[in-house]
């Protein structure tokens, strides 16, 4: 009897001792700071000085391939994957020349998407992963369904890196629910590491993941935090790049308590001409790209050559009609930055003649012909450009 009671006692104590096995992890910061003050002065960006070549891909428009508003573009090895707003979140696959391959079917059956929240291309295993509510659907690179898995933990978003996956939460969620910021899993989605990033202020809006196709690490950032971080296989978080701009940096500390859009309203009201990092960051093999907001002046695009550290920048550069300046940043692929252009937001089809004129120096005859034949209700154009 005594032994039985003792066993119950010990078992109960053990059951209550099931502590959370994740902890706060500090960022390792031993990186050289890049002073970009000179980049943020008022000047135009002459993109032709730094662009080596531009390719355009006109995504085929058919009854089945018609795209809704684009949310995400991934240029893979053989195919282009597009997550759009179709049926509240769909995925279309195109070949590299822009011809349509297929749209992943919608519904609740096996391999069907209900609402695609995020796509990721695992280039080492040649798989397309689609996050759909609480499950991950896995397809081969052509979009043939393989299987789906429901991870046994809560996450907001995910991305693939070499033979591992990284799941993460937004700051606001882990602050309130006490969940880990990051969970690294193996390819079977079994958690192998969970940790917090030391807390920073929560900011509404903005992106989180960097645009890059380097899957040896995951790079991420937070709007208004002027550092780019990386997570390696070992789960170590490093500051990869740190930007300083003492002459132009907006003072955001005074709005620390703002947790909604009043933050942006106050910031924009009070600090004209000052700058903050919006949250667009992309990295190719040889260049970095950052987008800053100069308050009440417009966007500032900043390109930095990774080898020479030479900086090229300018305000509101899309006014020039040069394609590498236009469109929205959508990704990076090898040496190329990737953007997409929905013409209706840049002057409609009427603006095409100006665009063709401004880009004759960049584009091949073939690409110019594609633009000349472009119709108003065609799918958006992908713009791939490589820096010198």
């Amino acid at each position: 009897m005594k032994q039985l009671l003792l066993i119950i006692f010990v078992a109960t104590i053990i059951s209550c001792n099931n502590q959370q096995n994740y902890s706060e992890r500090n960022v390792i910061c031993d990186v050289e700071e890049i002073n970009i003050s000179s980049a943020l002065e008022n000047k135009d960006l002459i993109i032709s000085d730094i662009v080596d070549s531009v390719k355009i891909i006109v995504l085929e428009t058919t009854e089945k391939s018609i795209l809704s508003s684009i949310n995400q573009v991934i240029v893979g090895d053989k195919f282009i994957y597009i997550r759009d707003n179709y049926e509240s979140g769909g995925v279309a696959i195109f070949k590299k020349d822009g011809s349509f391959l297929k749209r992943l079917s919608h519904g609740g059956g096996p391999g069907e998407i209900n609402r695609a929240m995020r796509i990721s291309y695992d280039k080492y295993n040649k798989k397309l992963l689609v996050s759909d509510s609480r499950k991950i659907l896995i397809y081969n690179e052509k979009g043939d369904f393989i299987k789906d898995i429901s991870p046994k933990f809560i996450y907001a978003d995910f991305i693939a890196f070499k033979d591992k996956y990284l799941f993460f939460q937004l700051d606001i969620q882990n602050a309130e629910t006490n969940l880990p910021s990051f969970i690294i899993t193996d390819t079977l989605f079994k958690a192998i590491d969970k940790f917090y990033l030391n807390k920073k202020r929560y900011v509404m809006g903005g992106n989180f993941l960097s645009y890059t196709d380097n899957q040896d690490e995951v790079t991420f950032f937070r709007p208004l935090d002027n550092s780019i971080y990386s997570i390696g296989y070992d789960g170590k978080i490093k500051t990869k790049y740190k930007l300083i701009f003492p002459d132009f940096e907006a003072n955001t500390d005074k709005y620390n308590e703002c947790r909604d859009n009043t933050f942006w309203t106050e910031l924009n009201k009070e600090q004209k001409g000052k700058c903050y990092f919006v949250g667009d960051f992309a990295e190719t093999n040889n260049y970095l790209f950052f987008r800053f907001d100069k308050i009440r002046k417009g966007d500032v695009y900043v390109y930095i050559n990774k080898k020479t550290k030479a900086i090229f920048s300018g305000i509101n550069p899309f006014m020039t009609n040069e394609l590498p300046n236009m469109g929205l940043l959508a990704g990076a692929y090898g040496n190329y930055f990737v953007k997409y252009l929905s013409l209706e937001y840049f002057g409609g089809i009427g603006a095409m003649s100006k665009i063709i004129e401004a880009n004759k120096k960049f584009l091949s005859e073939n690409d110019l012909a594609k633009l000349q034949n472009y119709k108003e209700d065609d799918n958006p154009i992908l713009i791939l450009y490589k820096m010198k």
């Binding site: 009671l5 006692f9 428009t61 006490n178 209706e344 209700d377």
Partner: protein, 205 residues
């Protein structure tokens, strides 16, 4: 000794179970849940409050006579459209950037009552800059068989500012006779029979 041991074990079990219960019913979660309920109630209340000012602001206002376009680029003015479809029509207005689920729900409300409404007197009026996306909306929302037109210009009434799909009953003088909009906090799922009845009564009045 035996008695003491039993008391000790029972106390330990009780304490550990309490700790377990505390973990299961995490106090933070309970507080968050309570706050969430209060927020939901206040959102519902503010939505109810909004109905009245929006009605007052919009009813009796005159919309601007805009040019409307169909998927084949055929043009018609709003006034001409109303005159060819009856003295009063219902406009279901939705924009490209509004949440798709809310638009789908708003459209399904009309679709569900299509036998009650004369669907020739219902106009689905998009506000979509992209011709491509306008065509796609027709397909996605399954409204190809109805009157679907696009107008990227503001109709000149207050309701255009709510950034949410809404319904208006409008007469052949372009006067807004009634406005009906779903509750934002519930994605419009409480836009029920009562609203539809009011809308119908206003249409045939």
């Amino acid at each position: 000794m035996k008695k003491t041991l039993i008391i000790l074990v029972v106390t330990a079990v009780f304490v550990s179970e309490m700790v377990l219960l505390y973990k299961i019913f995490d106090l933070n979660h309970i507080i968050a849940l309570k706050n969430n309920m209060i927020d939901n109630l206040s959102i519902k209340y503010s939505a109810m409050q909004q109905q009245y000012p929006l009605g007052i602001l919009n009813c009796g206002q005159y919309a601007k006579d805009r040019t409307l376009v169909d998927t084949l680029d055929n043009k018609i003015t709003l006034l001409d459209f109303i005159n060819t479809h009856g003295e009063k029509i219902i406009i279901c207005r939705f924009a490209e950037l509004e949440c798709q689920e809310c638009i789908k729900y708003a459209i399904s409300v009309i679709n569900k009552h299509k036998d009650v409404f004369d669907m020739t007197r219902v106009l689905f009026l998009a506000n979509t800059k992209s011709k491509r996306i306008f065509k796609l909306q027709n397909k996605e929302y399954n409204i190809q068989k109805y009157n679907v037109l696009n107008c990227v210009e503001d109709l000149g009434i207050q309701a255009e500012q709510i950034e949410y799909p809404y319904f208006i009953v409008i007469d052949n003088e372009l006067r807004v006779c009634g406005i009906y909009f779903p509750n934002k906090s519930t994605h419009g799922t409480d836009f029920d029979f009562k609203n539809v009845k009011l809308m119908y009564e206003n249409l045939v009045k």
